[in-house]
Symmetry: D2
Subunit: 350 residues, 4 copies
Amino acid sequence: MLVVMKTDATDAQIARVIEIIKAMGFEGRPMPGAQRTTVGLVGNDGRVDGSQIESLDGVAEIIHVSRPYKQVSREWRPENTLVEIGPGVVFGGTDIPIIAGPCSVENEKQIVLAAQQVKEAGANALRGGAFKPRSSPYSFQGLGKKGLELLALARKETGLPIVTEALDEEGAHLVAEYADCIQIGARNMQNYALLKTIGKLGRPVLLKRGMAATIVDLLMSAEYLLAEGNMQVILCERGIRSFDPSTRNLFDLTAIPLVQKLSHLPMVADPSHGTGLRDKVIPMGRAAIAAGADGLLVEMHPNPEQAMSDGGQSLYPDQLARLVREARTIATAIGRSISPSSGTATAANG
Amino acid sequence: MLVVMKTDATDAQIARVIEIIKAMGFEGRPMPGAQRTTVGLVGNDGRVDGSQIESLDGVAEIIHVSRPYKQVSREWRPENTLVEIGPGVVFGGTDIPIIAGPCSVENEKQIVLAAQQVKEAGANALRGGAFKPRSSPYSFQGLGKKGLELLALARKETGLPIVTEALDEEGAHLVAEYADCIQIGARNMQNYALLKTIGKLGRPVLLKRGMAATIVDLLMSAEYLLAEGNMQVILCERGIRSFDPSTRNLFDLTAIPLVQKLSHLPMVADPSHGTGLRDKVIPMGRAAIAAGADGLLVEMHPNPEQAMSDGGQSLYPDQLARLVREARTIATAIGRSISPSSGTATAANG
Amino acid sequence: MLVVMKTDATDAQIARVIEIIKAMGFEGRPMPGAQRTTVGLVGNDGRVDGSQIESLDGVAEIIHVSRPYKQVSREWRPENTLVEIGPGVVFGGTDIPIIAGPCSVENEKQIVLAAQQVKEAGANALRGGAFKPRSSPYSFQGLGKKGLELLALARKETGLPIVTEALDEEGAHLVAEYADCIQIGARNMQNYALLKTIGKLGRPVLLKRGMAATIVDLLMSAEYLLAEGNMQVILCERGIRSFDPSTRNLFDLTAIPLVQKLSHLPMVADPSHGTGLRDKVIPMGRAAIAAGADGLLVEMHPNPEQAMSDGGQSLYPDQLARLVREARTIATAIGRSISPSSGTATAANG
Amino acid sequence: MLVVMKTDATDAQIARVIEIIKAMGFEGRPMPGAQRTTVGLVGNDGRVDGSQIESLDGVAEIIHVSRPYKQVSREWRPENTLVEIGPGVVFGGTDIPIIAGPCSVENEKQIVLAAQQVKEAGANALRGGAFKPRSSPYSFQGLGKKGLELLALARKETGLPIVTEALDEEGAHLVAEYADCIQIGARNMQNYALLKTIGKLGRPVLLKRGMAATIVDLLMSAEYLLAEGNMQVILCERGIRSFDPSTRNLFDLTAIPLVQKLSHLPMVADPSHGTGLRDKVIPMGRAAIAAGADGLLVEMHPNPEQAMSDGGQSLYPDQLARLVREARTIATAIGRSISPSSGTATAANG
């Protein structure tokens, strides 16, 4: 339930609404907007009788949010939420940042070189897995903490903010220490324990859509993060399961405008996992921008043939540069722009 | 099996290859290319021993086409096939035509007005159903032959070529008399009897992907048309079945670059059926162009609220104009262009 | 709309209701039941004001059928429809017939031997394709009319009724001459022209569920047949498209009780196409019976390794005998029975 | 890689093989069989040169397991693995146990009554969630540790072993203290951190198939448990995502014989989640038994209308009794039997 205050409502009137909501056994969360303040009622409001609140001074109207998600919805917050993961790297505004890097952090040379290539190509943040969810227990599982340290080193060298995945509670705390944005992978989209843990860490989060998740499922999982008080959430389309083996996943680009209409959170796209095919990453990355994506997440490796994982879908460095150029032209065509190159001059010189 | 001739092969050498293939019980079809001629062997070549042909004069090499489709493949014909459905309305080249119009032809006033609006918006061809495949036998099934006559009238008024669907053998012959391009709908993609009938009619065909069809299934169905001697085939992505009820279908834009790599046939996209939601047609139409689509197929109605079918996914005339404008900018960004407005000035004045 | 008459309504009262419905521009179809007669209104009844009819003598109540299908629904006809395709071979009752035979009719020896093996195994009807819908235009397309003649010969030899597929209008008329039940394949489930043609032929029909068809889609397609006046329709689950390549299709057995609740038509299952794997046909055939299937459709070939199509999913003759035995035990366990062996002794001797 | 020893291989020869494998940097795990011992090589064996081992005394042959899973495979262990979760409640043998109970543990009265009804109906184990994975953060999340205590109480009252879900590391340790079998839910099937944790706990595990998981994905996730040394793993089909909204999930019963062929682990079925519809649970439970399921997992609630979760798919107590009766008849028909009623008389009297 949302309590929309009048434009001239006083602070005392707002406080009174929150007080009454508390007395009813719920939490009232004030959300100041450009024109007016709205107070959200957190908790299952099926039992709430809104009439008691509607009659309070300063209240304009009561909106019952009928959808199963609440804080992620546009009704709850009409303006786009901006999520900043590094200086100038902001998702949800006019600028469109591009996150790129290898599937896994493999060693110092590889990740530092990758970071430099990402930066040179004009992308804005570095991705790279330290903890890898692998379908086989016998596959390379990532370098763990050592991988995080190498990512931090790559950031120091280039100034690029870092996005990396956490798989469990202990790992999430570690990732939060090192990374600028914590990724929750597709396989963990409905790992609610992990969502609750990460929701409390106060770091920006990139939440990937699960392989069998509807748009509503994705928004419900994001709601777990927001319910813990973390609004800094980026959503990500990365392909869903389909009957056609032509591609690793079925890249559902319509999810972009769908999510953007239903939610205030930024929605990015991952054409690497979305297609699983290197030569489809560029056209589908362009298509994602044209569909309105608020960012791209792309796999690039200095040497894809020797990658320890996902080599077949990783771009070569010069292909990433081409994708950034083409994305820039497409963005301009729809009145947006790819974020300017990231990283401090100092770092670049250092 | 493909017999690639040397660049300096003589006509006599080519004729000899065809002769030998015929003696083996197959048909040899010569395909002159820019650099060299290739001779395709039509028929099931599982039993063919290529060594006999390989040793003939003028033969450069033998390529065994392992894929289940043959004449639709890039190996069979490396260059894009251009399909012209009206003066200057060509699919498969640099220019990207846009086909638009109502789901159904309803009456003279509606279809003529729609055609004028399509033309004014800058689109290049008129769509409209005279024979409608409806899931209910009690729903409006289209005006039939009367609808075709009205489409012809709309063409006369505007000069726009006409694309309309055929559902059965009798209807296909009628449609071939009136229309510039015969559409085969998603539900009939594997109606092989209809494919054979339409393949013989010698008209350009627009073949829509079935709701459960893989890319290979689509190409196999196109093979039926080519096997009847008709190369004028346009393929169309229009959304497939998925588990998410958010959209009517799941619009699989990766199908565009996939088909274009595997086949020489032009591949267009239908964002109206692909999403089923009017407000998603513009962003997904843009995305299709960015992904490399060779054309768009879009539903537009002069008065969507009063449409007899598919009103909810039909654009308003001014939305179509906006889509054409935005598609134009996106096309430019990737070095292509939306086809210039179609229709003769005379017709427009008439 | 359904007009339920009182139990003591007179013929004159019923005739009056039909007359009024006709005057309203629709057709009224009387359906005598065990207790009372119901009159169905055929046509789109969105505009009909039921009050005029409700006040007529003998009318008990008006039921508005809200579902998109009508004549196929249990509301329209509460009792199971029994479909008899040969003497004693009845679908929809307590007995459960088994239809078996090769994918394609290949030659006289093969189909007659197959029919004898089907009969010896204890199955009740013979299947075999004369017109084959093949995904490749270069694959064996069936023997056509010759195949129908061979099926008729096999029937003469064994007494088994024949089920075979029709692909187009011309073929449907031919099939109707020779076969006891016309099959409409999965790829043609939404070929509405074919449905209308076959609906008029007055023969029992076996309609297979399309690969991307929901239960409602299947019922809507059956409605096309019933709307042409043919009530002799058997529905068939044969697997749908899924993301798991382990099986050719995903066999959806829940469709059986779902359809049986919504419709009065018999619902059978095809574990051969449903799984695509010979060694899964027996367990899944048993499972279909346990789920309540009104019949089985199974591929069996005298010599699966040499089959011209679908050899990999065809049972060996002794496997069919085992399936019939095990199906019999399962049927008994749920209070039903497999139909007794079909075919007259005379025929067998003849 | 599997090292198959000769039938007369001595213990010393086996020990030597293990020693050599260890020297190569892997673990050799001896698996005594009825006829002969096999030694499995644990670890990524891509680099291993088998010839060194092949030449050792007592070695019959080397089998390279090409499938991505290993210890779960039938090649690794030809005999069925038996998983006993309570006295006489064994999965994987001829007897088929039935696990039943409410979705959530709600309070003492509810769970004790449910347990008594489960026992009276003839089922063999009690299910009930203490930790609930809910798509909404505002929904009832289970009673937690209190729920586990109530389950233990219900066990004390009835003697039924307990199956309940764990969602995270901390919860898994708690569940291991109280429950006889730890369930890993569909949403956590690829939560590899949880799989590793639970694999180490030494308790029987019931692993449910994820909504978008292929059969191979399911086996790979089970491999995580076995790789931690836990062989006591039961797999469970519970429905996957599909395009048809008629049912909550698509119940894939072919998964049962598929898994049983590929793996030695028992495979059970959950018709409650598999269909999501109370009136489909009995026919589909029967079908699962007929397909060869090694057990059933069914939701039953003393009072489904008042259930705090999943009431719509929960059986009434008398429906469970009917399901057990019908399952018994089906099991007999295929030469198996439903496990005899569980629970000690003492417990029942106590």
